[in-house]
Symmetry: C2
Subunit: 437 residues, 2 copies
């Protein structure tokens, strides 16, 4: 509450930003417009000296007032005034080279590049550590939710047990429209694209890989263990049918694309992304539209949840700024790289060994004895049935049988599924959706 | 992700804990059991050297293994190995002296004492600033939600516009039981006490002052402005009647005790605690039982929310530990005091000048013309009515008239209320509850 002068601890850092796109524009806006405010709030002066981009023809929404516009990032790397390189170039190839060269030139790095960190982060963090430099990456996961510093700093005295995240705004928007307005997947996607919640090429969002990048980074931070990105189980929402969303709703569930990381008592970790039924009333069930949320269960805090807008230019730019302030404060003793270390080396659980509840739906011939044979197959495969819905006879000879199960292993479920499908050929494959415990 | 040795940045701090109660026991447990884990996670060694308490007779649930048990805190202040004093003594008198002496002895401080910080924090922060020391206070507001570092650090590059918090677990538990089970206030309070969610003397919770302490601290952090605690408008839940919770529910609202801080466009701030109707579907409406949540609206992140268990021994102890790690990392350049400064000096808005929507209920004579006269009084006082419910005739001559209004000033509402009550004397006073925009 001290109101007087504050000169003693003023830190001044020089910054170069690479990639003047949507997020870059947001960062330029904050650093140029709010520099005095940040100085007052945090005692840190951030001097944006260069903005670097190959393309200076395309008009942007933000004007650069003070920083120099250049095209070659090496100019910034050679400038001794520059303490931090902000990497907003995207992709995993040029961005990798840029960060590697920046660290070798003694520059700290702030990045929003989740794909790069998830797929090729290891050697970069190792390099930063060796050179006594920081890599700030708050903006890489859920820009609008300070989840990296929550897991890395706030929970440092706690033990994280599990993370359940709605970490992709595009898919959550689509599933919300399907659930609330009975829209088809195709129509909901089209609306998401129209409103800017889905990109023209939404593949990485829809197939779950964007969420997988994020949960891979979060789980490494939470459990201090290294995960091979290739080993993460990923299932997107492209095969989700409106019918299942409707039936699940009758059963009291909302369908969400969850990114899940759990530390099991046997010290193996589960890391996966898959469509999941969440009980209505659970905090995650009310996360609607393009919003993100991460539910954390930890030994001491118990349940906590962090909710906000997932991405977007300004939320992400704000996260980049918070990282810059942290680096400015700790520039002589970088601590943020220390967050990222995998001393635990827990093995990753394979998808077959994962235990969860299931919702299943089969189209079966409308004949006596069918239900008993399906139940029998489940029983033989150690799967116990929790509830059954048999819908009224349809116009065809096939009727849908819907069941929810108690906890079952994925490998048992796969075996049972194969046996049931072999028994009752139908044009439509059976559906299985995991239920959140 | 570096897995090798990490000797270079190891910080070792000596710690003395004052107050071996419930939270103190939690802190001892974490610091003694998890010290190796914290060292690996954060590169910080926290050495708990003293636990200080007057009473060493009462048995505790946690055993002290390594720290020395002493009774005089001055011993710790005179020990050059001690870098941080953890104040868990509580109260605003001894705790003040302790923190003041600790700072003067060159010790950093971590405290969970919201009453002290809200009522007498200013000179302590000033002293810490002058002495180049830190005061960590994450544990003072919503132990289970890292809200201090979210407002202070994560949003450093943003501009907070408003905070809406359910920051008191006792009152939220009581309101949840009333809402969900039609319990009376008295019965719900009794159950809360039985389950440990309310203290034997719950006055400070029920009258809103605990929530007021918290929102005072949060609003100063968020807006960098100083607030006189005495000027904060506080209204508790002791006068809440089940009937209004039920009617409000029919209207689509849930009643919550909200702590509210807003920065208005005219650069005045509202800081208040009062029962508030929250629309069902709003994220805050589904915060049930003893849980806490703070909804923040900021310029760049937009809406974000932080949800978790409010208090309790282990959540609060975990927050204390996170502060210790921060201090250990920055021991040579304390930065956390910098968070707390009030360079903005915004004036506090008086309750009369606050604009909000209202739910009102009057008991009026069951005669023609009454509704029109009430509407008339509202109209004259610049209050526009949004909806009206007139319940069926009761056995008495009085009937309840229920209205919701559009945005209105509190001073207009008070005037209208007085006029209506003067007109229609009734045994029961009218009810007015604010509706969250």
């Amino acid at each position: 509450m001290f109101t007087g002068e504050r000169k003693i601890f003023m830190h001044r850092i020089g910054v170069a930003l690479v990639g003047f796109g949507t997020i870059g524009s947001g960062v330029v806006k904050i650093l140029e417009d709010d520099s005095e405010l940040i100085m007052k709030k945090a005692g840190v002066e951030i001097n944006l000296k260069y903005v670097i981009d190959k393309d200076w023809q395309t008009p942007r929404s933000v004007e650069i007032k003070r920083a120099r516009k250049i095209s070659d990032y090496r100019e910034a790397l050679n400038d001794r005034d520059i303490d931090v390189i902000i990497e907003l170039a995207g992709g995993t190839s040029f961005a990798y080279t840029l960060i590697e060269e920046a660290l070798k030139a003694g520059k700290n790095v702030v990045t929003a590049n989740k794909a790069l960190l998830a797929e090729r982060g290891l050697p970069l963090f190792k390099l930063a550590r060796e050179r006594n430099l920081s890599i700030g990456f708050e903006a890489s996961v859920c820009g609008g939710v300070p989840i990296i510093r929550t897991v890395g700093d706030a929970l440092v005295g706690d033990r994280v047990l599990s993370l359940y995240g709605i970490v992709n705004g595009t898919t959550n928007y689509i599933l919300t429209r399907m659930f609330e307005e009975n829209m088809s997947f195709a129509a909901a996607l089209k609306q998401a694209q129209k409103l800017g919640f889905a990109e023209a090429d939404p593949e990485l969002d829809l197939n779950g890989f964007d969420a997988a990048h994020k949960i891979k980074i979060l789980s490494e931070l939470a459990f201090n263990t290294c995960i091979n990105f290739e080993d993460v189980y990923v299932e997107g929402i492209t095969n989700i049918q409106l019918e299942d969303i409707k039936v699940a709703s009758e059963l009291g569930y909302v369908l969400k694309l969850l990114a899940i990381a759990k530390l099991d008592p046997d010290k193996t970790v589960e890391v996966r992304v898959n469509p999941t039924l969440v009980q209505k009333g659970n905090q995650l069930s009310s996360v609607r539209n393009e919003f993100n949320a991460v539910l954390i269960e930890s030994s001491y805090l118990g349940i906590s949840m962090y909710y906000g807008r997932g991405a977007g230019s300004m939320p992400t730019a704000s996260a980049v700024t918070a990282d810059l302030v942290d680096i400015a404060k700790s520039i002589r003793e970088p601590a943020s790289t220390l967050k990222y270390s995998c001393f635990n080396n827990y093995p990753l659980k394979s998808i077959g060994d994962i235990e969860t509840r299931y919702y299943v739906r089969f189209n079966v011939p409308d004949k006596p004895g069918v239900l008993s044979r399906i139940s029998g197959i489940f029983g033989v495969n150690n799967i116990s049935i929790a509830s059954v819905i048999q819908k009224e006879r349809s116009k065809t000879d096939y009727v849908p049988v819907i069941m929810t199960t108690h906890m079952a292993f994925e490998k048992d479920m796969i075996r049972a599924f194969d046996e049931i499908e072999k028994l009752y050929f139908s044009k439509q494959r059976g559906v299985k959706i995991r239920i959140m415990e």
